[in-house]
Amino acid sequence: MGLVVLGWIGALVLGTVLAIMRVSPIRTVRMAATAYILVFRNIPIPVQMVLFVFGLPLLGIVFPLFPSAVIVLVTYHAAFVCETLRSGLNAVAVGELEASRSLGFGPFGTMRHLVFPQAFAVVVQPMGNVLILLVKNTSVAAIVGVAELTFTADQIAIEEVQAFAVLGGALIAYVVVCLVLKRLVASLDRKVAFKK
């Protein structure tokens, strides 16, 4: 589960940077972020995982297994984080921006005092969905043999005969984790929601 924590932190950081890049006034920066999202969102995560773990060593770039799984999870989910954040930024009404600008806030002041607080509140729920997606996708690390829940369960299941019990246990573990997360996100969402 270290995969989830590290992957989530990385994805949040990279995703936020990308989201800021996407609203930058400089065209090249915007284009670079857009290209990143097109590429990393559309290549299936198993393909990225295999390419990273089995492909890159051919180029003489060797990462240990666990960090490379984390990196792939970060690059994949950062694209989703960025899209979610951007939809949150879009939710801020244009009139409010204009008002803030005419009150003399600069672009960064507007961002910090007006756009971000609202955008984050809007984004809690969808962001929670991305987190749950990340939790589920950590299982993909099993493909390349990182010893996480799915992989370990499968190994035990292959060695022992009681496949049903072991894998069933892993299934239940995922369900519990995801449902708990969903509850937490929902309560957080209620807490930060704007009263309309």
Partner: protein, 277 residues
Amino acid sequence: MNTTTLFEAPGPRGRRRHRVYEVASWVILAGAAYVVIRILNKNGAFDAAAWQPFGLWGVWRQLGIGLLNNVRAAVVGMLLSMFFGCFLGWGLLSKRKMVRYPCRVFTEVFNSIPVLLLLFFISLVLPAWGLPLPDFWFLVVALSLYSTVVVGDLVRAGVQALPHGEAEAAAALGFSGFQSMRLILLPQALRMMSPALVSQMVIVLKGTTLAYVLGGYFELLRAATVLGAYYSRSLLQAQGIAAITFMLINIALSQIASAIDRKEKQRYGVQPVALDE
């Protein structure tokens, strides 16, 4: 966001400054691209020998068969999940708690399970229960179980988004619950859902690559890896081609989804239904 409101149109000095930044970021990007290409080149990624297998018709044929298998599994899985998803959605909307609660639990559970784990589970447990299916069906079952839940929830959201009058009018005209669902509510709901369904297709197609772990199912990623086993110098190239292929297909599908989205909005002025994921 409308960037012109965040940054007012720059004056002459601002424009000059932006041009400098733009050139600077081009330089950085070009530098990054140069480094990548140099690493690739140093390790012989562009050598003729590494690309030589791709001159052969058979190699492309194998990759094509692999891709076809991906698409086949995705299409079958999607059709199955649309079929069952309609029923699940109907169950989720049911007035009877006896029907609604089990459907809710089913949805929550399968929404939380990674497809890969489901795939392991199915491929180990079904044969143990005396159902030795080919790998194709393991994949399809796992994907459609997962996808049914998503489609079911979409159907629920879609039908709930319809005006109440629709169902009431159907009831007043003497339609039974099933008839009203099949003839009146579902067609409209499906129409509103169509962009979300296409996006779901992207997710399912991405999911088919998980079959890589089964080893017995010849999909594109597996095909690329097998190719790498025959031509040891071409593994990276083959996998790169697989990645680019998936990327292009998925971008195309996403474009279709947003095109449908725009068209629906234009024609009916309605907000198409989407679940946020």
